[in-house]
């Protein structure tokens, strides 16, 4: 029986090389997304590390307010900007130059029922307003009451096993795997379109007339896409490491095995899409929707860890969720190895088998 694997792989590689859309879809677009998302997350991270600006006006007559202003300055939490009058505080908060302001009027006397005023948009996002209200109120109250530092009432406990201690994930450790998996699954679209093109042009009929078993034709057609998927995801990780300074804390071999599983799942997904569609239009619409929904649910565009619990569980219903869990472990957890991501690798291979099974049951070998 003629060996068809090598000629078919060579042919597929030649065809893929001559289609610049594939290169754009598989490499250029994800690199652009990684760069943009990375920059956005980096900006957020930098802002989180900066002191929160707060505008303060203290009337010179309010001598008992001095301690409050000094306490805010010394808290290590706020960058205190002093205003000329109360109107300036209100105006700048209203203009959103500051999230919060404090006004200590000349008649400041909390015991007499005349407290300082916290100027803040109460309808703003709770996750921003509540910490500001709580922390400024607490600092001001303690500064006003005075006395020795209070005893430690609440201690912080980290439940993480010290052996598995992990660094804070960097922006690129989040965006590179997310985009690599999201765009890695676009291989499915390329693969399904490859089948549609073979059928449309009639070459599939010619292939079926050759003295080669149909399953061999199918395997030979799919293998190049698995290889392409690995090259694509590998390239994106390499760009993450060398261009964006992303760290890989765990095993690179485990990372490669997980990537192989992702490439298999994406290619099998392509076979499944091809088996449900007969035209290139159907493949483009069905495939794009499926890939984007799986990516969204699986946490490629928005980290699953920030989603509600139910959505986090739903995310494990697609290979993306498992793949990302595995990648985050290998990127962030120091010394993480093959054993640490076995469930994730197994699950992704499981999805590959499921997609392939569905695809094979529905795939029409004849024309």
């Amino acid at each position: 029986m003629p060996g068809i694997l090598r000629p078919t792989i060579e042919k597929e590689i030649l065809l893929l090389k001559r289609d610049p859309r594939v290169l754009v879809r598989l490499i250029v677009m994800p690199v652009a997304f990684i760069a943009l998302f990375g920059m956005a997350f980096k900006g957020q991270e930098r802002r989180a590390k900066e002191l929160h600006p707060v505008i303060v006006f203290r009337d010179l007559a309010a001598s008992r307010g001095v301690a409050i202003v000094e306490a805010l300055k010394g808290s290590g939490m706020f960058n205190v900007v002093e205003a000329k009058n109360a109107e300036e505080v209100r105006a700048k908060v209203e203009k959103e130059d500051f999230d919060v302001g404090v006004v200590i009027d000349h008649d400041f006397d909390p015991l007499g029922g005349r407290p300082a005023h916290l100027v803040i948009d109460k309808n703003g996002p709770q996750q921003k307003t509540q910490p500001l209200i709580g922390s400024i109120s607490a600092i001001a109250t303690r500064a006003f009451v005075g006395g020795p530092p209070p005893p430690k009432v609440v201690d912080i406990v980290d439940p993480t096993d010290p052996a598995h201690a992990q660094e804070q994930a960097s922006p690129f450790q989040l965006t590179v795997p997310g985009n690599a998996v999201l765009f890695g699954f676009f291989i499915a679209l390329t693969c399904a379109l490859g089948f549609a093109e073979e059928r449309r042009s009639g070459t599939w009929r010619r292939l079926l007339a050759a003295p080669v078993p149909a399953w061999k034709l199918l395997v030979a057609k799919l293998v190049p896409y698995v290889a392409l998927g690995m090259i694509q995801v590998g390239t994106l990780f390499a760009i993450g490491v060398f261009a964006f300074g992303m760290k890989i804390q765990g095993s690179v071999i485990a990372l490669a095995v997980l990537t192989f599983a992702v490439a298999c799942a994406a290619t099998a997904c392509g076979l499944m899409i091809a088996s449900f569609s007969s035209t290139e239009k159907q493949i483009s619409s069905l495939g794009s929707v499926l890939i984007l929904i799986m990516g969204l649910v699986g946490g490629c565009m928005f980290p699953r860890m920030l989603m509600p619990h139910v959505m986090q569980q739903i995310g494990l219903g697609v290979p993306h969720g498992w793949a990302l869990d595995g990648y985050y472990t290998l990127l962030v957890r120091s010394g993480a190895g093959f054993a640490d991501v076995m469930p994730q690798i197994g699950a992704v291979f499981g999805f590959a088998a499921l997609f392939a099974l569905i695809g094979l049951r529905r795939f029409r070998f004849d024309t």
Partner: protein
């Protein structure tokens, strides 16, 4: 060595309740060019697809060069070369790359592969464009390459499914000459076409299919004798109204000033009727039947849009 390169026995294919091909018997002799004719939807392509192993038959058996297409399918497929109706080529590859790929599917390798590819490029007349991408080619060039890809492994039986659709006269002539040369070199050819003059020029024998059945089979001479009708052709004079009246009176079909009399009719009364209608008889002779006459006589004049 079997006398018949292709032998179909009760071969049929159903798609649901519809019989695409009923149960046909057909033999194609070694070294001949055999024409398979039929209107759209007659079952020609399904028959070819079953013979090539692309579609599984529902009933019956078929053998290519003595190899059963089910029990010995890979040997049967190796003996057959398919030139599909579609331009089954990779547009983003060159002719050399297309031919190399399809040849490798049949196990060709090394120097044999290289020399066979050169030979096929020569047959297709594409030596000076062998490295260019197929997508830059004209329809005729693609058709020639389509033929070359089907015969790259030098099959015993070459199946050409409408190989000249949409080509210029030069490319059509090139394809005809190539097929004749292949036949002269010992290859058997099964040829389907809608162009009767092609079949008349190329084919030694012809089968006509309709509604999934073979309705006639034989040499063109045998078919025209048996089904061409013959009959009498009368050239008449007179104005259009007189000629029309003469045709009606004689029960003849009219083509300009020519009236065709059905051979089943007694024609002496028809001649009397023509003269009675006021027309003059200029010429009277036996009508020469062609393949188109046979085809229309056997398959009817109703449109086939399926």
């Amino acid at each position: 060595m079997s006398e018949h390169v292709l032998a179909l026995k009760g071969l049929g294919k159903d798609y649901g309740a519809r019989k695409a091909v009923d149960a046909i018997d057909l033999d194609v002799k070694r070294g001949e060019i055999f024409g398979l004719l039929g209107p759209n939807g007659a079952g020609k392509t399904t028959t070819i697809s079953m013979a090539c192993g692309v579609v599984a038959p529902t009933r019956g058996r078929a053998a290519v060069d003595g190899h059963d297409i089910v029990d010995d399918k890979f040997a049967a497929r190796r003996a057959i070369g398919l030139v599909p109706q579609d331009l089954a080529l990779y547009d983003e590859l060159s002719p050399r790359q297309n031919l190399t790929f399809f040849a490798q599917l049949y196990g060709l390798a090394g120097t044999e592969l290289a020399s066979r590819v050169d030979w096929a490029i020569g047959v297709a007349g594409l030596a000076d464009r062998a490295g260019d991408l197929v997508k830059t080619f004209s329809g005729g060039m693609k058709r020639r390459l389509n033929l070359a890809c089907g015969m790259i492994h030098k099959p015993t039986l070459l199946v050409c499914d409408e190989p000249t659709v949409g080509v210029d006269p030069q490319s059509r002539r090139h394809i005809f000459d190539s097929i004749k040369r292949l036949r002269d070199d010992g290859m058997t050819v099964l040829y389907t076409s809608h162009y009767m003059e092609e079949v008349e020029e190329l084919c030694d024998r012809v089968a006509i299919m309709d509604a999934g059945k073979i309705v006639a089979c034989g040499s063109i001479a045998e078919l025209t004798t048996a089904h061409g009708g013959g009959g009498i052709e009368v050239e008449v004079g007179g104005d259009d109204a007189i000629v029309e009246a003469a045709a009606r009176a004689a029960g003849a079909t009219r083509a300009g000033s020519l009236l065709h009399l059905d051979p089943r009719d007694t024609w002496a009364p028809a001649i009397t009727a023509i003269e009675g209608a006021g027309a003059t008889i200029k010429r009277l002779g036996a009508r020469r039947a062609d393949l188109e006459t046979v085809f229309l006589a056997l398959t009817g004049r109703g449109l086939r849009d399926s």
